[in-house]
C-alpha cells in the first residue's frame, strides 16, 4: 500500500436552485442516504421532479463525520442481505457514478478477545458463509501476518484470541461519495436545496401534502425522511413517534504517517477501531457517548478510553498525536438495526436508525428507500426493517455485529 494522491478539489458539481412550489417527492436530509435515495428515485423510477432539502450544507452531518468503514459481515439473514447488496453496489458505483471515490477493499478484521467473543465470531463467520458473504476466521498468527503492527502477545489486558476477516470490506472517501451522488442527481434534474430546513408538514387528514421550510411551503405528493440523528424531531413534527435515541458518536485522526496499517481493525471488546486514511492519518473511533445528545460533540473520557485500547493493541501508536476530534449525532435503535419503510402518516416514508453504522449501507438504503417511496410498498430487502417489527417482536438483533459501532 502506498499513500495515494487525492483527486483535485472539484469545481461546482451541482446547481444551487431555489425551491419550486411543488415536487412529486421531497427528501428531507442531504446526507449520503438522502442523496442516494434521490439518485435511485431518478434513475430507477424516472422520478426527476424531486428535491433534496438540507438544513445545512450538503453532507455536513454524519456523512462528513463517519470513519467510512464498509463491510457486510452481519449475523442475521435480513442484515446480511441488505449490507451485502450495498457492498456489491459499492463495487460498481465508481463506474456508474463516473467518480473515483477511492473505494479501497483492504479488508476488515473484527478481533476476538474472550472465549465468548471467539464463539460469537465463529458463529458469525459460519452464518456469513451461508449467506454468501466472504468471511473467514483467523488465528492470532494469521492476524499478525495480515496486520504486523498488531500486538498479539499474551501480556495485555485482553489478548487477541483471533479475528473474523472480510477481505472485500474496506473504506472509501465519504465526502467524495456524497459529491458523486449529488452530481449525478443534479444531472438527472433533481433539485438539491441547501440551507433549507424543514420546520413542519402540511397534512390533509392523515396524508402529507407539503413541507414547511425556512424557504416557504413546498407542496409535494410524497415525503421521504432521511435525517439520521434528527429523525425523531421530524417524526414529532409529522405527528408520530420513532423508537430512536440520538447519541453523540465521536472519532478522531492523528497527523499523517507513512503507511503502517494495511487493513481495518475493529475491536468490540476493548472499544476501538482503526484504519489508516489514504493520505496517512490514523482514523479511530469508539462507541457512543452514553447520554442522549444533539450537540455533535461528546465527552473526552470516551476518547481517552479508546486511545488506551488503541495503544495497547498497536504499541507504535504511542508516538502518534491526536490531531482532531469531532462528533456526529447517531440515531440508535434497541436492536441495532435500521428502520426503513412506511410510517403511520400516509405518503410519508422513513429511513433512519442506522445509528453508528449506516455509511456502509448508503447505496442499498438509497435503492430500497427509493423503491419504497416510488411504489408505496417496501423492497424485498427493506421489508424486514419496517417500523412494525417493534410491535410484532420480529427484532433483528445485530448488537454482536454492530457493537462498537460500524
Amino acid at each position: 500500500m502506498s499513500t495515494q494522491q487525492l483527486p483535485e478539489h472539484p469545481d461546482f458539481l451541482w446547481r444551487n436552485p431555489e425551491p419550486k412550489s411543488s415536487y412529486d417527492a421531497v427528501i428531507v436530509g442531504g446526507g449520503g442516504h438522502g442523496l442516494a435515495t434521490a439518485y435511485f428515485l431518478a434513475k430507477n423510477h424516472g422520478m426527476t421532479n424531486i428535491a433534496v432539502l438540507e438544513k445545512g450544507w450538503l453532507a455536513g452531518g454524519n456523512m462528513a463525520r463517519n470513519t467510512t468503514i464498509i463491510r457486510s459481515n452481519y449475523l442475521w439473514d435480513e442484515s446480511a442481505a441488505i449490507y451485502e447488496h450495498a457492498l456489491k453496489l459499492w463495487e460498481i458505483l465508481p463506474e456508474e457514478l463516473e467518480y473515483d471515490f477511492l473505494f479501497s477493499q483492504r479488508g476488515v478484521m473484527n478481533l476476538a478477545h474472550t472465549l465468548g467473543d471467539v464463539r460469537e465470531s465463529m458463529r458469525r463467520v459460519g452464518a456469513n458463509q451461508l449467506n454468501g458473504v466472504d468471511a473467514e476466521w483467523l488465528d492470532p498468527k494469521q492476524v499478525k501476518e495480515l496486520c504486523p503492527i498488531l500486538n498479539i502477545s499474551d501480556n495485555i489486558r485482553y489478548p487477541v484470541m483471533g479475528a473474523t476477516y472480510q477481505p472485500r470490506a474496506g473504506i472509501a472517501k465519504h465526502d467524495h461519495v456524497a459529491w458523486a451522488f449529488a452530481r449525478k442527481c443534479d444531472e438527472l434534474g433533481v433539485d438539491i436545496i441547501q440551507n433549507c430546513e424543514v420546520t413542519g408538514f402540511v397534512k390533509d387528514g392523515n396524508r402529507v401534502v407539503g413541507v414547511k421550510t425556512n424557504k416557504g411551503t413546498i407542496n409535494t405528493e410524497k415525503v421521504g425522511l432521511a435525517a439520521a440523528g434528527h429523525s425523531s424531531v421530524l417524526a414529532e413534527m409529522a405527528g408520530f413517534r420513532l423508537p430512536i435515541q440520538s447519541h453523540p458518536l465521536q472519532a478522531l485522526v492523528s497527523e499523517l504517517h507513512e503507511p503502517v496499517h494495511p487493513t481495518v481493525v475493529m475491536s468490540n471488546h476493548v472499544h476501538v477501531y482503526v484504519s489508516q486514511a489514504h493520505k496517512g492519518e490514523l482514523v479511530m473511533g469508539a462507541g457512543v457517548d452514553s447520554y442522549n445528545g444533539y450537540g455533535q460533540r461528546g465527552s473526552f473520557h470516551v476518547i481517552e478510553h479508546q486511545m488506551a485500547a488503541a495503544v495497547e493493541l498497536f504499541p507504535i501508536f504511542a508516538r502518534a498525536h491526536v490531531l482532531r476530534t469531532w462528533g456526529g449525532i447517531v440515531d440508535t435503535t434497541l436492536d441495532a438495526s435500521p428502520i426503513v419503510g412506511n410510517t403511520p402518516v400516509e405518503n410519508m416514508f422513513v429511513n433512519c436508525g442506522w445509528g453508528t453504522g449506516g455509511f456502509k449501507a448508503t447505496p442499498a438504503a438509497g435503492m430500497t428507500f427509493a423503491h419504497n417511496i416510488a411504489t408505496g410498498t417496501p423492497h424485498q430487502l427493506n421489508k424486514p426493517f419496517a417500523l412494525e417489527r417493534f410491535e410484532t417482536g420480529a427484532l433483528i438483533d445485530e448488537h454482536g455485529a454492530a457493537a462498537v459501532a460500524h
Binding site: 442522549n292 460533540r297 465527552s299
Partner: protein, 144 residues
C-alpha cells in the same frame, strides 16, 4: 466530560455515573391489558427530545443511588438535579442553540454545567440559575 452533582455526594466526573435514559416512565399498571402497540410503546419507545430532557442517572461508583436530572440535550447544560419520585421541575427557558463546533468541545460541559446544590440537601429540586449556558458561537466545524 459532564460534571454531575450527585444529590448525595456533590460534584463528580461523569465517569462515576451510569446513564439511565428517560425519567418518569412508569411500569404499566395492568400489563396484561396492553395490546401489542401499547406494549411496544412501553418497551421500545422513549422520548428523544432535542432540548430540556428529564433523565435518570446512577452514581454507580459513588453512593450507588439513582436520581433524576434535567439536561439540555443540545448544550448539555444541566438545569436541575432532583430525587426520583418527585415531579419534573419546570425547564429553564430554552437556551439558544449554540454553535455545535467541537472547537470548543468540552467547554460547555465542564465549567458551567453543574447546578448549585448545597451540601447534603437531597430533598428539594435545585434548579440552576438560568442563562448559565456558555453559548459558543463558532460555526459548525471539525468535519473529517
Amino acid at each position: 466530560m459532564l460534571l454531575i452533582s450527585c444529590p448525595n455526594c456533590g460534584s463528580r466526573d461523569e465517569t462515576e455515573f451510569h446513564y439511565g435514559g428517560q425519567a418518569h416512565v412508569a411500569y404499566p399498571e395492568n400489563p396484561n391489558e396492553l395490546n401489542d402497540r401499547e406494549w411496544a410503546e412501553f418497551l421500545f419507545y422513549r422520548d428523544n427530545t432535542k432540548g430540556a430532557f428529564a433523565e435518570r442517572w446512577l452514581h454507580s461508583t459513588g453512593c450507588r443511588q439513582w436520581f433524576n436530572m434535567l439536561r439540555d440535550t443540545v448544550t448539555y447544560d444541566i438545569q436541575a438535579v432532583y430525587p426520583m419520585g418527585t415531579p419534573r421541575p419546570a425547564a429553564a427557558p430554552a437556551a439558544p442553540e449554540s454553535g455545535t463546533a467541537s472547537l470548543a468541545a468540552d467547554s460547555t460541559t465542564t465549567g458551567t454545567a453543574a447546578p448549585s446544590i448545597s451540601g447534603t440537601s437531597t430533598s428539594a429540586p435545585s434548579i440552576s440559575a438560568t442563562g448559565t449556558t456558555a453559548s459558543t458561537t463558532a460555526p459548525e466545524g471539525a468535519t473529517k
